[in-house]
Every structure is written in structure tokens, then in C-alpha cells.
Symmetry: none
Subunit: 193 residues, 4 copies
DNA sequence: GAGTAACCGAGACGGTACGTCAAGTCTTCCA
DNA sequence: TGGAAGACTTGACGTACCGTCTCGGTTACTC
């Protein structure tokens, strides 16, 4: 399938420069004033483009931010394979917790997802559930190695990992650093024996 | 202490009826259209009062909703004391998970907290951290009974509990029912041995 | 007659001090911010009284200002009687033009009169037409002395005098000083021969 | 010269239909409820447009009314040239007094000018002083013909004419009809001999 | 190389909600 | 009853963005 070139459209093609300018402008606006102050008008002004150009390609400002985030983030989620659940988990959590620098962006996207069910679906599919899938691989490998107790609830384990991550990200009341990753990994390991 | 009535204020006193009408109207508006569609104008219209009256007493619409929630929720958080961590946790989680019926309200409040740092502080103090404090009592009792391993990270344990709760509340991808409470309680118990 | 004391009212009598404070406050507010910025709230705040006290005694803020103006202005309008129309007019106009110092107050009252027909009636009766009556005496004396041409239109003459006065007061495009009084007096005299 | 069309602006052009609708709505609102009851909200509602569209083009509601008035009034002020001051004045005053039908509009504009110095400037420039300029031509022609006494004060004469006009317009205590025009013209002629 | 189609910037448009202001009324306690 | 205090309903204010639209102008492909 694919057929990427098959559906060549008539007329002037989409301007790649403008697309990039919009994504960049969105992130800059977000950093300078926070997500609450983010507006389509503002993005358009900063990107030097018309509002219509934004509305033509994205259904909401959150989709712009999501695309910008996905573009700038590592496009591939690394799945460690060190041979033991303990090591894999530690590697995975350490890498994941490094995203905390993007807290304002992530928090803004989550806020939007909470307010807008349509965007929520996109956010889950394109972002949240892809991370979960990576973690699932780690856990399934551990299960195959017999490291997990019988009938372990993989879903719950994933929710523990991402629950702690997002809870700390959203409330900002406790660190998301390397020691935290170690303690959480240890907790998971203990819970699965 | 006392003297609560000593500081009787001059002028016409605040109308209790209006206050109640506003809180009720806020919850009704929230249920009928979701948090995103909640407006001060709408609350005032439904409550049959002026907007100014709302602005006089609450800094934002989220504060109105928060007060309404606190008023209607059980005012006291029950702290079980069954004699074992396992039973206490199960009781606590079962009671806590029953709040899932208020998902739209809670999700809306969280969204507002993510967008508005001032409200975030109020939300944490008046709601989130009070629940945490109750759970802390449960865990400390277990520690006193020697049920927890040396050097257990109470903060992390609480974040696991509330992380899972909020993560499922926000994403709505997995149940928050009694079996879930049982599994989560079991996981915590295993992790603390 | 009089019967001033006949209609003695029940209850606590009106506070003269408060009444004075309100009139003073009104003039001060007016001078400090102009008529457009005058508010009942502001007057009450400055006078240290409740709004209700103002509403109890005056129908509108303009009535407060009008009463303040009447109280502070010379309570009696002097009617010159020098023996000739020329001298009488000059004396009258010179005295009248001296009111130009109260331009902001007068302009504010006129604005209110233009917007509020009820106040307009009060303004005419208590202020404008009393001044006209004084001028009428001057003109009628001149007519009795045979200084006016047959069939002179006294109403028109008064409108010329007060028309010029108010037109310059309102537009503030030309002086209302002694030379202006002289020229206008001379014009009137020429026009009545 | 020319080039009027050269300065074509970017973006969607101003809607002439909306502009007309606003001006019409303003006059209708004014007629139906008087100037005091005129609101931007009301104009926008009646014109079927957004408030912003009004604010975009006019600084205040008075400016809307002024533009509406200027548009509907004879765009050119006729300057009679009959050969004598007497005839010219009579013609001018008769034509001018016919404006009395627009009393509510004119009174409202004057009220606004008294309360708002910024609008006052616009009102004088675009309306009041243009009428004065026409009268000045009449008087200067008379002076050139030798009909005016030496050293006649043209400014004062104009203030007499417009003073009487506005004084009667504002107070509404005496007619502004043809006989009044005749008497005022005669008075001016007598005063200038 | 003329025509067509979709893009682009700019910015005006009808709306909705915002948060503020003042108006005039009402309700409390105190003198 | 008068008066100070201050909460109340009401409604207009002027602003900010929303998402849509209408211009002139640009860039590709199609005939």
C-alpha cells in the first residue's frame, strides 16, 4: 500500500517552511507564556502566517503542539533489553523521566486532552499509548523469562509506572530524577515477585 | 479560639441562599455541558444572580466548583483501622475508588489546576493533599506494626496509589472498580514486604 | 405662615453635617476628576456616608451638584440699576461672565440636563431661568426709560446674551472676559436702538 | 495626485454593508430611546454585527452618531449670495434653523462633547466649525461690500448666531422657526450698522 | 503559455465570554 | 427613623480570541 505519491494533489503544494515556522512558533509561545496563554492568533503572529493556514492543517492548537512535540522528541522510543527486568526497568524509567524537562508542554497537552475529548483520543493514540506499548514489551520479555509471578496484571503495572510519572509531572510535588527512577524500579520488581 | 461570632461584620451579610444557588448551579452546568462549557455567565444565569456576586467571593470558576465539590463530598475522609495493612488498604482504596462517579468534576478541576497555578495551589491544599494525609496515616500505622520493610518510601507508595487513581481517572482507559482496588492493594502489600 | 415647623417628621432628623459633607464631597470629586468621572459611589466614599443617604435626599447625582452649586454661588443675583441700559448691561455681563471659573461644574450640569429631562426641568427652574429673570428686569427698566425700539423682542435679546455665554462656555473657543462683556453689551445696545 | 486607489490595503476589505447598517442602527436606536439609552451593545444587536466591528472603526458611540449625522445631512453647506447682508443672513438662518428636526441627535452629540474632550474636538472640527466657516463667508462678503461698521467683531457675531441657535436647541424653551430667523437676522443687521 | 486549483498573508467579520464598573435597591446593626 | 456599611441584581463597558470569510497574490500542475 503506501501510495504516498499516488494522491498527488492539484494546485500549490503545502509550504514546508510555513509548517515548520508554525510548529516552532507554537513551542516558543508555549515556553514564553505557558499553555494557558497559547492562542492561535499568537502562533500565527509569531510564525508570520495567517490563521487560516493553521486551521487548514490542524483541528486545534493542541494538535499543533502535539505535532511539534512528536517532531522534536526522539522519534523512536528505545526499548532496553539488558536481560533482567530490574535493569530493563531502570533503563526505561531513567530515559522516560528525562522527559520532565518538557513538563510545561506535557502538562498543557494533558490539560487540553481533559477538556477536549477529540484531542484526547489523538493524544492517547499518538503519544501516551505508544509509550505504554514500549513498556509492555519490557514486561512481556520479563514474563517470558519467568521473572513475573503467575497472573501478574501487566496493565496495572504499566499504570503504576505511568501513574507515578504523570502524577508527579502534573502536581510537581516530588522529583522525577534518577533516584526516583531507581526506587520505582525496585518497587515494581518487588511487587512482581 | 472561639470568638467566631465576635468578628461580626458591618453591612448586609452575605446571602447564604445565593451562595448555595451558585454552588448548585455550577454543578448542574458542569453535568449538563462538561467542564469546558462551564462559564461564569452561565453559572450566574442559572443561579439567578449577578456575575459580580460570583467574582466577589471566588477568584475563578474552578474555585466555585472546588467549593461545591468539597461541600457535597463527605466532609471527613474515613481512615480505616482494621489491624493490618492489607485490610486497611483495601478499605481505603475501595472507598476512594467510589469517587469515580465524580470523574467529570475531578477531571475539570485537574484541567484548571494544570492551566492556572494559583488554583493549583488551592486544589492541592484543600483537596489532593488532604487525601494523601489520610493515606499517610494508614501507612504509618502499618510501619508502627512492623508491616513495612525498613526504609520504605512512604511518599512513593502514596504516589503509586494516587498516581494509578488519577491516571485511570484522567485517561479513562481502565476500570476503577472493586477488583482494581483489590489488585492495587495486593500490589502495594507485596511491594512493601 | 411658613409652617416650617408644622411638618415636623418622626424619627431621627436629617443630619445637617452629613448633608454638607455630601455637597462638599461632590464638588471635590467634580474638581478632581471632571463631571464624567463623578459617581455616587465616589461621593459617598469621600463624604464618609452610605449611598442610600444620598439616594434618600436627591434623585440624581446632578441634583447633588446643582444644590452644591446653588449653595456656594451668591444666593442673590444682583440686578444693577445704573440709570442706562448700557451701564446696566455692562455691569450685569461683567458679573455674569465671572462665573466662567465654574465652567466644569456648569458644563457638567448642562450635560446632565441634556441627557435627563427630569433634571433638565430642575436645572432650568432653579438656575437658568432665575438668571434670565434678572436680565429681564434690566431690559424692562430700559424699555420703561424708552431706550428700546418699539416692539423689541426681549426674549430674543435674553437668548442672545445667554446664548453667547453658554456657547462660549460649552465650546471654550473664545474668551468670556471683560472685553468680551463690553463688546457684547455694545452689540446689544446697538441692536436695540 | 490621484492614486486614491493606489493605497489598496491587504486583507479582507471593510464591509460597506456593515458600515451602513451600523450607522442606520445608531440613528434608529437614537430615535427610539433617546441618546441616553444609546449603547454600543444595542447598536450592534440592531445592526446584526459584532461589537468589535464598531470598536474597530469608531472610538465611541458619539463618533458613530456624528458620522451618521454627517452622512445623512446635506454634505455641502449652502452659502447664500443674494447681494445684501440682510438677505444672505435670512437665507442662511432659515436654512440652518431647519436642522431643528435633528434636535435629539444634536443635543446628544453636544452632551457627549461636554463629557468627553476627545470627542469634543472631533465634533467641533467636523461639524460646528464647518458651519461657522460658512457664516464667516457671508459676513466677510458683507464687510467687503461695506455693510459692516468699522471694527465689527465677526467672531462675536458668529457666536451670537450660533449661541442663540444652540441655546434654544438645548433648552427648547423658544421656537427656532422662520419668524425667529427673521428677527435674529434683523437684530444682527441692526447691530452691525 | 494560458488556465486551473490550491496554497499563502492579511485582516475584517459575527460571535461568546471575559472581568470591571457603576447604578440603584435591600438588609443588617447601631444611634 | 436616620445613617454607615456593604451585599445584592442588573446591565453596559471595552477586550480577547474564536473560527470563518474574503481579498490580492503565488506556485505548482494540466492542457
Amino acid at each position: 500500500m503506501g501510495g504516498m505519491t499516488g494522491e498527488r494533489r492539484l494546485g500549490r503544494p503545502r509550504s514546508e517552511g510555513t509548517r515548520t515556522a508554525i510548529l516552532t512558533a507554537a513551542l516558543e509561545e508555549l515556553e514564553s507564556g505557558g499553555y494557558a496563554a497559547l492562542t492561535i492568533d499568537g502562533i500565527a503572529r509569531r510564525a508570520g502566517c495567517g490563521k487560516q493556514t493553521i486551521y487548514r492543517w490542524w483541528p486545534s492548537k493542541a494538535d499543533v503542539v502535539l505535532e511539534a512535540l512528536l517532531e522534536r522528541a526522539e522519534t523512536t522510543i528505545e526499548i532496553p533489553d539488558e536481560g533482567s527486568l530490574s535493569d530493563d526497568l531502570l533503563a526505561f524509567l531513567t530515559a522516560t523521566f528525562r522527559q520532565r524537562g518538557q513538563r510545561p508542554t506535557l502538562v498543557g497537552l494533558m490539560a487540553q486532552a481533559l477538556l477536549d475529548p477529540v484531542f484526547a483520543t489523538a493524544f492517547k493514540e499518538k503519544f501516551l499509548f505508544r509509550r505504554r506499548a514500549a513498556l509492555r514489551v519490557v514486561l512481556e520479555r520479563a514474563a517470558a523469562r519467568g521473572e513475573l509471578a503467575e497472573g501478574a496484571d501487566l496493565e496495572l503495572l504499566m499504570d503504576v509506572v505511568y501513574g507515578v510519572l504523570w502524577y508527579r509531572l502534573l502536581l510537581d510535588h516530588a522529583p522525577l530524577d534518577e533516584p526516583a527512577a531507581e526506587r520505582l524500579a525496585a518497587l515494581i520488581v518487588r511487587a512482581t515477585r
